[in-house]
Symmetry: C2
Subunit: 304 residues, 2 copies
């Protein structure tokens, strides 16, 4: 059993009301792999970086059971770079700069031994790349999760709709769910989106938690209220990594188990935002995860 993760491995420069970073390591797949590594011991990465990317980070991933054979390192080229500034409420941000660099002409290549991975996490990336990865899978994975964002809805909707049609779980935020469905009510939005292909939909609401839908049911998991939110970057990816990591570990893709996976995803996201970049999650211990999980249970449990 293993998880194939495709997504960006990148540099970010981030400004939030709590501070500002130089170029630091980021990227959807980086967060996903690290978060999933607390549950799964077989993670396969498909991505691309330039030769400016630190080998230290690749070693970090390898130490966390991430097989980086599918990570292309382009000689003489530069890694994808994104720079952004969060507004005061941390719920919205402005992109200051995007340098696509190696992403411009990225052709994902899934190593042959990874084409039978049973769990596939299509991290936020061009829908055409997500589709190319899907096409390379030798057999249909047991579970395909796709994360995306408004940018692809604005510019590559057709590609995105084709990709969405093929997946089991779609994860987007509330504004994106509204955009994709043209419905304000999230209940109505979910109904429409579930007709587009996926069996499950996760609507991420940031500090307001996450909703998990299938055709008949809905489950809500809050976000843990935190004393300090330092940097929201990667929260959604850490959520996705925790979610799919837990599902792979438990080998159970029932709705009941997905609820637990959503809680674990929320736990990982709650750590992610406490420091800039991957600083917090790269050093996380199982004990910390267990302890926070208990806080989640305490936060939400009642008898009625």
């Amino acid at each position: 059993m293993s998880i194939l993760v495709v997504g960006t491995v990148a540099f970010d420069a981030i400004e939030t009301p709590y501070g500002k970073t130089e170029k630091i390591v980021g990227g959807a797949a980086t967060y996903i792999c690290i978060a999933a590594s607390f549950f799964s011991k077989k993670i396969n990465l498909v991505s691309v970086v330039g030769d400016d990317f630190p080998s230290k980070t690749i070693r970090l991933l390898n130490n966390k059971s991430v097989d980086t054979e599918g990570l292309q390192i382009k000689e003489g080229r530069k890694t994808f770079f994104w720079s952004g500034k969060y507004h005061n409420n941390m719920n919205s941000r402005d992109t200051l700069e995007t340098q696509l660099n190696v992403l411009e002409d990225f052709e994902p290549k899934v190593p042959k031994k990874h084409t039978t991975s049973e769990y596939l996490m299509l991290g936020n990336l061009m829908p055409s790349v997500q589709k190319k990865v899907l096409a390379q899978m030798k057999k249909r994975p047991k579970l395909i999760v796709l994360d995306t964002m408004n940018f692809w809805m604005d510019h590559y909707l057709e590609d995105l709709l084709e990709a969405i049609k093929e997946v089991d779980v779609l994860t987007i935020n509330d504004e994106e769910a509204r955009q994709l469905s043209q419905e304000y009510s999230l209940i109505k939005a979910a109904k429409k989106i579930l007709k587009m292909g996926p069996t499950y939909l996760i609507i991420k609401k940031g500090e307001h938690g996450a909703l998990l839908f299938n055709q008949e049911e809905v489950f809500f998991a809050p976000a843990l209220p935190l004393e300090e939110v330092c940097d929201p970057t990667g929260a959604g990816d850490s959520f996705a990594g925790g979610f799919i990591g837990y599902l792979e570990k438990t080998q159970d893709i029932s709705f009941e188990n997905m609820k637990r996976a959503v809680i674990y995803g929320s736990v990982l996201a709650s750590f992610c935002v406490e420091k800039f970049g991957i600083e917090k999650i790269e050093k996380l211990t199982e004990k910390e995860i267990d302890c926070r999980l208990k806080n989640f249970v305490k936060l939400t449990s009642y008898n009625i």
Copy 2:
């Protein structure tokens, strides 16, 4: 055992993206009393209206076990009137018109037999009026809940802080918690506010649920995701009514029971917003409440 409710009984004219009303019956105390009446059979109202207020509504309250002896009806005067327009996301609104009318010189008079009520709900109103009611209580109620809003923080902060000092539970929304505490993080905000007097704090987050705090614990209850939100007016008051009504019914003011009361408050609020004004909650049945409670439990339950 009984609940004393003080707050406005009023006329509203409301505009939302879903429609527009003429002058309809509203007011914090109206919503509180109706919501509480599903749990408590002894509710005492202290408020004021003009002689333009429909006796039909007073009869409705009486039929719902509300004793209106403390409701002053001012001859030749007009009832408090508020008119507002909600923005597209329903989270913010503009006040179009406020006619204080009988509220201008309102002197609350708690009927003697109600000065020993064991539960006191100080609905959103001038803090000076809330204080005058407190001063008329013959013995300290078992539980005092105070609801307020940013307007009083802006203009009557000193009075408000004095009132808050005397109460057990303060209910405000997230923006108001931030304003009152000068802290963005709701965890930090709660810590500061709990030092101002109340033992419990409820932070209402509208469609994003509610948080219940004491010094050591925090509990989160989501709002039920709804297909249609027609009019948010009175949601917070219906929440407060359901909350204190359930506490009075169960005669248990432990944190564990307050969690249940928060859930019942959310159930009542979820009905309130489905139609304009009191239209939905005035005709609610116990069966509907039980059914929605089950939906809440389903929405939030997981085993981990």
